[in-house]
Symmetry: C2
Subunit: 148 residues, 2 copies
DNA sequence: ATAGATGCAAATGTTTTGCAGGAAA
DNA sequence: TTTCCTGCAAAACATTTGCATCTAT
């Protein structure tokens, strides 16, 4: 997603919902778009803070949720008690190593298509999904925990 | 998974790791096996407490993590800040309604097979996965939030 | 002028941990 | 009799919320 395009999309969402454009929201969106892969609220807060020291952590949390509602971000819970966000439109699924924690991204059209069928069968309309495969990787330098 | 089989499996795991069998672990496993669908630590704690009022919440948290490591349980984070557990071997994936929160279970062999291929392609050995489809259901009584 | 947004600090909710006493090996 | 477990309370942690103040509209 283009930077300008994203800002326009947010603008439209704000207008449609009677919300306001603010310096903070623009700055947070900018920093978010500049991120690659996954980012937490905390991490994004640190980055934004570098440019605008007066921004509060709560605003970053609030804005990231707003971005999800506006369709600009997606959130994931990989099971460590933290919420990870990624830019919408850079869709892919995840393959995670149980031992070293490496996260590999993949995209499989066959599965994507099947998901549509499954949801339709249950009378649902698919909006988004989360598909995570956990396994053990075979990299030599994998920081593996002793296996059982 | 049979009750006896599960207890044996736990026993083996404990022995192999130099851990001990305790009254609490047995009681928690029993209560867990008797559950259907998904359960939180908190909920399981309430149940166990009914039979053994002296069991602490921390022990339930600790034991549930142990059961996951022993391959008797699986954990999920559906995004509400709580960890849900389910009995391993009753495997299925999930379809969740964004509006009413309904959780529907499904199982699709085509997807299951494809997962093996994907992991193999990346030099991984698949151990488990999490596959959640989010959408809007069409039940008339769906407690829907006002749609945009 | 008014509805919303912000920053701060306090509150929340779940899960983890330190520790002293208790139980299994 | 040593090692591991337990319950309790306190701590940790990410996230949310109340509120007085500011800002976009």
């Amino acid at each position: 997603m283009e930077k300008a395009e994203a800002h326009e999309k947010l603008e439209r969402y704000l207008a449609r919902h009677g919300l306001k454009q603010t310096r903070q929201r623009a700055a947070i969106l900018d920093a978010f778009l500049a991120s690659t892969g996954h980012i937490t609220s905390e991490q994004l807060y640190e980055i934004v803070r570098g440019k605008q020291p007066d921004v509060g952590a709560a605003t970053v949390y609030r804005t990231l949720r707003l971005l999800c509602e506006a369709g600009l971000a997606n959130s994931h819970q990989f099971g460590e008690g933290v919420t990870l966000y990624e830019v919408q439109g850079r869709h892919h699924d995840h393959l995670i190593c149980n031992d070293c924690g490496a996260i590999i991204e993949f995209r499989n059209e066959l599965v994507e298509a099947e998901q549509e069928k499954i949801t339709a069968q249950h009378g649902f309309q698919l909006t988004n999904h989360q598909h995570i495969l956990f396994g053990t990787c075979t990299r030599k330098d994998c920081e593996r925990r002793p296996r059982d």
